[in-house]
Amino acid sequence: MADPTDPHAPNVEPSNDRRLSLVGDWTLIAQRQLEAKAQQIVDRGKLAQALTLDLGGVTRLDTAGAWLINRARRQLAEAGVNVEINRARAEYLTLLNETSYRDFGPKSRPRPLLTLDLIADLGESVVIGCNEFYRGVSFLGEFAATLVRVVVAPSRFRLTSLVYHMETMGLRSAPIIMLINFLVGGIVAQQGIFQLQRFGASSYAVNLIGILVLRELGVLLTAIMVAGRSGSAITAEIGSMKMREEIDALSVMGLSTGEVLILPRILALVLSLPILTFIADMSALAGGMLTSWTYGGISPVAFLSLLKGAIALRTFLVGEIKAPFMALVIGLIATMDGFATRGSAESLGRQVTASVVKSIFMVIVLDGLFAIFFASIEY
């Protein structure tokens, strides 16, 4: 577009050393060429004592062109050159008046020292971390208080909402959880059989699958999946409600956000996750059974009798008991991050990411704590 052969391109034509004729389209389309031409006015003008700008040849003028002409006039005025505008159309004069040069002040604050920035950032993130923890604890307290209120007055409990959330977060995530656990069960069985075959102990792969899946893998994979799938959805839902002032609308109606939004979601998670964990355990065992049959030649009947010898009810319970706690952590982090959303789309994205990352991290930390706990009580 900034083609110099373009007949509409802006140009500066000196008539004599005191008169410059501007021709062409002085518009933003010309881009940097426009800026260069405005600079030419200044360069040529500085050679003269007084200058007349002839705008008779300007075919189009927009705010950018007018601004640049005004800026050139100001620069010349500062250099002691008197500039006059000549033969400008009436509408160009209005535009030139509207865009008269003004100084907008310094563009940006000077940057402070880099090391100071780094230390300040470090301090800020420590404070943010502490605040986050404090908010988490207070949020947990709020949730407990809401729970007590609802237990005392059960009519305030929203059953429909709970069922709806159990459907979206529980029932609808069952297929994907079944699939991934089936695959992981199969993969663990396959590796178990390959490694244990060297010792002639491939049938012990059944013990490996049974204990690993029931105690750890089933619940962990389910919790991570739910954190990614439902935790993110909760944060995004509550976050966008916050952005559109829906949360404020709820509270001015005298409704408690805790009862309407938080409790049904967290309860739905707490009730769904153990059920999902059971489904996950069964799928993983089925996957393991199928792989043991194909790779280890262990028939399903033999698999089941070996499994019966390897696990007890408590193996299953160790996994199950972790599920509601993990659900609580996921739900609390997701709702809390949703409420922390500010006005922008960017902030919503940041909160959803933070919610998923934090809940997956916390689920794994919680699993580790439980492992230590069960080991020390020798359960």
Binding site: T27, Q31, R32, D62, A64, R71, F104, A345, S347
Partner: protein, 275 residues
């Protein structure tokens, strides 16, 4: 007169005036409901066209159809004499850069400051020095009547009126010839709305804009619109200078201009006409 003046003084749609938007026989529908059914509309260079119609009649849909955001089922839309849908992509982009749009809720990018919002179209479509971009953004901010300290604020920190002004500044970033305004004064107090009307009128005169304004605000129609078009039953039921519409016998127009709110203002217009 073959070359149209960018600043027409006449408010009459003379036949020889250049039509910037020309919509012919437009059909737009959702599902089996037709929102536009054979709609014809012309917007001439240099005028402010006010577009009125009952709620839910599809004023915004028409604006979106002209902008190419809602697909049309039939008919033709020509902007600057060109059929946008059949243009090659690069020509189409150039055409779109000649239009500025003020959406009803501003549609400012929430992750960018006001200044960055205004610079966004310049940065993406023009090669300019950072200094000039900064200066032009600040100039637009002043032109729309925002204080310079609004430049570094995020949209969520602005009041409703400031959002409208900032969105207008963004719509004007590339000095468009044609500006679409979707209910520019809705949600503003009467003083703010009057200021905004005046601002649009000033900018229209200074920059020689053509304005397509969807509005419910009777005051805006009276104070700044050269012509008014009314939408009803998927068609333009009347288009012309306001006086013509006020005197029209169409039942909807009668209740619009001679209802409780309308008659107060039409009386004012009549009084002004007599004076």
């Amino acid at each position: 007169m073959t070359t149209p003046s960018p600043f027409p003084t006449s408010t009459n749609p003379a036949e020889d005036r250049e039509s910037i938007i020309s919509v012919r026989d437009l059909v737009v529908g959702f599902g089996d409901k037709l929102v536009m059914n054979g709609l014809d509309l012309d917007v001439y260079r240099g005028e402010v066209l006010g577009f009125v119609g009952g709620s839910g009649q599809g004023k915004s849909v028409l604006m979106r159809a002209i902008l190419g955001l809602t697909p049309a089922r039939g008919g033709s839309i020509r902007i600057f004499g060109e059929d946008r849908d059949n243009l090659p992509l690069d020509r189409r982009r150039l055409l779109e850069q000649r239009c500025g749009v003020l959406f009803q809720n501003g549609a400012l990018f929430s992750g960018l400051t006001v200044k960055q919002n205004i610079q966004m179209p310049m940065r993406e479509t023009r090669d300019l020095s950072p200094r000039l971009m900064d200066e032009l953004a600040m100039l637009k901010i002043e032109l729309v009547g925002l204080r310079p300290d609004a430049a570094d604020k995020f949209p969520s920190e602005l009041s409703g009126g400031m959002v409208k002004r900032a969105a207008l500044a963004r719509a004007l970033a590339l000095d468009p010839e044609l500006v679409f305004l979707d209910e520019p004064t809705s949600g503003l107090d009467p003083i703010g709305a009057a200021d905004f009307d005046e601002l649009i009128a000033t900018l229209q005169h200074t920059l020689g804009l053509t304005v397509f304004m969807v509005t419910h605000d009777l005051d805006s129609l009276f104070s700044i619109c050269d012509r008014v078009a009314a939408l009803g039953d998927g068609k333009v039921i009347a288009a012309g200078p306001l006086r013509e519409l006020i005197e029209s016998s169409h039942p909807w127009l009668r209740s619009y201009f001679h209802g409780v709110r309308g008659s107060r203002l039409t009386a004012g217009v009549a009084a002004r006409g007599d004076a």
